[in-house]
Amino acid sequence: MKMSKLSLFVLLTIGAYLVLKIVVPIIGRFLHPGTWPLIPTSLLKMYMLFIIVTILLYLTSKEEDAKALIAPIKATLTDPSKRMLRNIIFAVIPLLAAYITYSNVAPSYDAPVELRSIHPAPPSSVNAYNKSYNLLTLKNPLRDDAANYAKYVKEGGEVYFKNCFYCHGDKLDGKGHFYQGFNPQPLPFMGTDTIAQLSESFVFWRVATGGPGLPKEGAPWLSAMPIWEHFISEEEIWKVSMFIYDYSGNKPRTF
């Protein structure tokens, strides 16, 4: 039996919705274990609108297809034998519309959604330690001293476990014992999707100037990252950077 165009439309729409609502979070969970990343409702609505329009375009691309799609609707509206069904549909649709409207106008306590840029573009130069750094050319000077690599990593570890682990975690997973108290939550360093994507000069900038050093799209008023140039030396920043890359098995991006 060939499926009617209308059922196909309904099935495709439901299928697309389920993919966005369930499959996407499953993929997200696979990439970031322990999370369940949902698509924000406003975005979901927009995606669904485009998907429905696309499906309709596809199903009505030919004149007879368009007719076939509308035929069952027309039949429901005119066929005397379908009177009962017609009356039910006529009652249900306005009620549904009223319900959707109600849930939109009823005041709720849901906090406003705030979108911030997690990796804002770095400026070309930054000021810290009463100096100006060109972020395009800035390199970790300690990496040239390969003979002392292990020593620097260990010293970086000491810096990390005196300053960073409260938030970024004993496991460098962004879940230190204070992590719950902050929003945005601290960056995890494990895995290949955070510091592995950053050049070391970017890391230096984020550490030295902290949350308040973020550009506006990074919501500097929210980040709890302290301005580390007030607390630790330039050399200590380079050492701790070597430690987090070494511990997590990542390498700074160099291109």
């Binding site: 009223a98 109600y102 106008v105 306590y109 476990f161 496991k171 108290g181 500097p220 709890a224 302290p226």
Partner: protein, 505 residues
């Protein structure tokens, strides 16, 4: 070689292998040399390179990381005659972590084998060998009932309240120290079981009562020499009482970030204990050390704060509640007894932006910034000489805080059995341009901070929260009913029009 012989050889080999495996697993489940390698990568940072609990992080932690050279383990399931834990007890501490401390659970990054190897290594640090001879005897579990809870409560008041407080909030009347280097320690707040270190199942609690907590003043209630000994049945009654006193209101709820201010038609509550507060919804927020600006603070004692708010035509009132083991009254002899040297007043504050942000841009969450000032309402608990006080501060950053001469808020706090309740009231609108003006229906950022004076918290040393929200929810008017009805009517009309036009064709 014929086939039969080959089978026999295999059979023999399998038996030898089986025997070998069994004897190895009986000797020790892990390999301490392999454990040492894992230890130096993951554990030494806190527990120290030689396991003495003196790693880089040690001074910034409360509780401090365990010293493995002592061989004392707080949490074990071996009975009172066996001072050392089972290997499985140590395994669980590593795998599941110690809730409410900085010791994370490791089972997500370490393999089973890694953890058993670690167990072998940390045991070797104190020269521990073999396994204990006997487990705690659990007897027959008494299921929870009103009667059992009542019996448990009587036993609790008699045996436990001396340290854990009348209501179990750990508001001790004694100064307690541990056996390692005499660190100051505090009795557990039993109303927050989700922070219990080694599990909060009835069986876990039963184990704690039975074994005590080694290295701390928490005794074993199995000790036959003690007058306080409890029978198995009595211990289950105490367990049932302890599980009955948990305070769900203090528990953080994921994603619940809004103070839900309720509109009242009449007068606002008179004080913290007013009946009117009873049916107002509360929201709990996590508190963490102020680790952003100098002088930073790493070892807070207060974990969370619960907030309620109500308002009427004129005023808004907040009720702030948090568990604090001490009522810190400088100059008071009893409070002095509990403190270590100099101590300060307890305090709490609310932070609000002066201007409600139109877009997402807010003041810097730590005391605002140059272009975004904040108001801070700061209540202090008073000293033996001075009464409670409240101040309003205008701030544009950590270094730029001005105390006002005139205060237009009122605040009154009350301490009872391990809990502070403080109520602050202010007019919704004021004529001061430096004040935030409350508006119904607008999401407004709000943040909180507390100070536990006995824990050495003063000035910049205190707990903080990030920005959350407060919403003065307007009364739901007729609009909410009218608009959906109108929409339903329009849709029905459209349907009828379509039906008619289709029929005509």
């Amino acid at each position: 070689m014929n086939i039969k012989k080959l089978f026999k050889m295999h059979y023999l080999l399998a038996v030898i292998l089986l025997i070998a495996t069994v004897s190895i697993s009986e000797a020790a489940k892990g390999d301490k040399e392999a454990g040492k390698k894992v230890y130096e990568k993951k554990c030494a940072w806190c527990h120290g390179w030689a396991g003495a609990g003196d790693g880089a992080a040690a001074d910034f932690l409360n509780p401090r990381p365990r010293d493995f050279t002592s061989g004392i383990y707080k949490y074990k399931t071996s009975n009172i005659d066996n001072p050392f834990p089972y290997e499985e007890d140590i395994y669980k501490m590593i795998a599941n972590g110690m809730t409410g401390t900085s010791m994370p659970f490791w089972k997500d990054v370490l393999s089973d084998k890694d953890i058993w190897n670690l167990v072998a290594y940390v045991k070797s640090l104190a020269g521990l060998e073999g396994e204990p001879a006997a487990k705690v005897n659990y007897g027959k579990q008494v299921s929870s009932s009103a009667e059992s809870i009542k019996k448990g409560k009587e036993l609790f008041i008699d045996r436990c309240s001396e340290c854990h407080g009348d209501e179990g909030k750990g508001d001790a009347m004694k100064k307690l120290k541990d056996d390692w280097v005499g660190n100051r320690i505090w009795p557990r707040n039993l109303t927050k079981p989700w922070l219990f270190r080694a599990g909060s199942d009835p069986k876990d609690i039963y184990t704690r009562i039975s074994t005590g907590i080694s290295g701390t003043p928490m005794p074993s209630f199995d000790d036959p020499a003690s007058k306080k000994k409890l029978t198995e049945e009595e211990k289950w009654h105490v367990v049932n009482y302890v599980t009955s006193i948990k305070n769900e209101a203090r528990r953080l709820k994921d994603g619940d970030t809004v103070v839900k201010a309720k509109r009242l038609t009449g007068e606002l509550p008179k004080d913290v204990n007013d009946e009117k507060w009873k049916d107002v919804e509360s929201t709990a927020y996590p508190l963490v050390g102020q680790i952003i600006a100098k002088e930073r603070f790493f070892t807070p004692s207060v974990e969370d704060i619960t907030v309620k708010a109500v308002y009427n035509d004129k005023d808004i009132a907040f009720l702030l509640e948090w568990d604090d083991r001490t009522n810190s009254i400088p100059g008071d002899a009893k409070a002095q007894e509990l403190a270590d040297g100099e101590f300060y007043e307890d305090a709490v504050s609310i932070q609000l932006p002066v201007t409600i942000p139109e877009e997402m841009e807010k003041p810097y969450f730590g005391m605002g910034d140059g272009s975004h000032p904040v108001n801070v309402w700061h209540w202090k608990s008073g000293t033996a000489k001075d009464p409670q006080s409240v101040n309003v501060m205008d701030a544009t950053g950590f270094k730029n805080i001005k105390k006002r001469d005139k205060v237009n808020i009122t605040a009154k706090g009350s301490y009872n059995k391990g809990t502070w309740k403080v109520m602050m009231t202010r007019p919704l609108k004021t004529d001061n341009k430096d004040d935030m003006q409350f508006e119904e229906g607008r999401f407004t950022p709000i943040a909180f901070a507390t100070w536990d004076g006995t824990n050495g918290e003063k000035g910049s040393k205190h707990t903080i929260t990030t920005w959350y929200w407060i919403l003065l929810k307007p009364p739901t008017g007729s609009k909410v009913v009218f608009i959906p009805l109108l929409v339903a009517g329009i849709v029905l009309g459209a349907e009828l029009l379509i039906a008619r036009s289709v029929k005509k064709k």
